[in-house]
């Protein structure tokens, strides 16, 4: 699982820090760091929370098909 740069970019575009995103979705800052670094695979529930907070779709933030040429 590689780094989730799209999540990082979307968060930066919203001018949100890791701490602010973590507070918004109810997790620790370390969990956001782990997701962005690809060290933790979040549940669909947390993915949806993050998408709703950042105003993105699941595909835009978490779908890896494009990156691996599968789509």
């Amino acid at each position: 699982m590689g780094k989730n740069l799209r999540l990082k970019a979307s968060r930066a575009a919203k001018d949100m820090s890791q701490k602010q995103l973590a507070d918004a979705v109810g997790v620790t800052r370390q969990t956001i760091i782990a997701i962005e670094n690809g060290d933790y695979n979040p549940t669909i529930r947390l993915c949806i929370e993050i998408c709703l907070t950042l105003g993105k779709t699941l595909d835009e933030l978490f779908w890896e098909g494009d990156e691996h040429g599968e789509n």
Partner: protein, 147 residues
């Protein structure tokens, strides 16, 4: 999503560490029983059991602290009253520990006792202090903005 409880990543890590610590504790207790059965007393009771307990619980605590699964996302700082109460409890514990150690040092072992009481009390107090310090450190780290 809960803000006071551990989040999903923390819960997963905590469950994994808990399961492994339980197996470790059970294995060590069984090994101790086996050794006792063969007449090998590696440490006097109750210190032997206490050491096994410390290893099992210690490994669990260290792992969940290492994984960041000890303090949940919504755990804010203590109130002034909470801090005062915590300080008082700590002061009493440390004083009790020092007094007991000094008393045991001057009078030697109590009749019928093994003399392990002060050691256990001191280790428990030290572990308690380390855990409290760690909680404060985790809270500071989690509330820090990214670099």
């Amino acid at each position: 999503m809960g803000r006071t409880n551990l989040d999903e990543r923390q819960l997963q890590n905590k469950h994994k560490a808990g399961n492994q610590a339980f197996i470790l504790l059970a294995f060590l207790l069984l090994a101790d029983m086996g050794l006792q059965n063969y007449g090998i007393h590696w440490l006097e009771y109750p210190l032997s059991n206490y050491i096994i307990f410390l290893i099992g619980v210690g490994s669990y605590l260290v792992r969940i602290i290492w994984n960041g699964s000890y303090v949940g996302p919504g755990s804010g700082n203590l109130t002034a009253n909470g801090r005062s109460l915590l300080g008082a409890v700590l002061a009493i514990l440390v004083a009790l520990c020092v007094i007991t150690a000094a008393w045991m040092g001057s009078s030697g072992k109590t009749s019928g006792g093994t003399g392990a009481g002060p050691v256990i009390l001191m280790i428990s107090t030290a572990v308690g202090l380390v855990i409290l310090g760690t909680v404060f450190w985790i809270r500071r780290r989690n509330n820090r903005e990214e670099a």
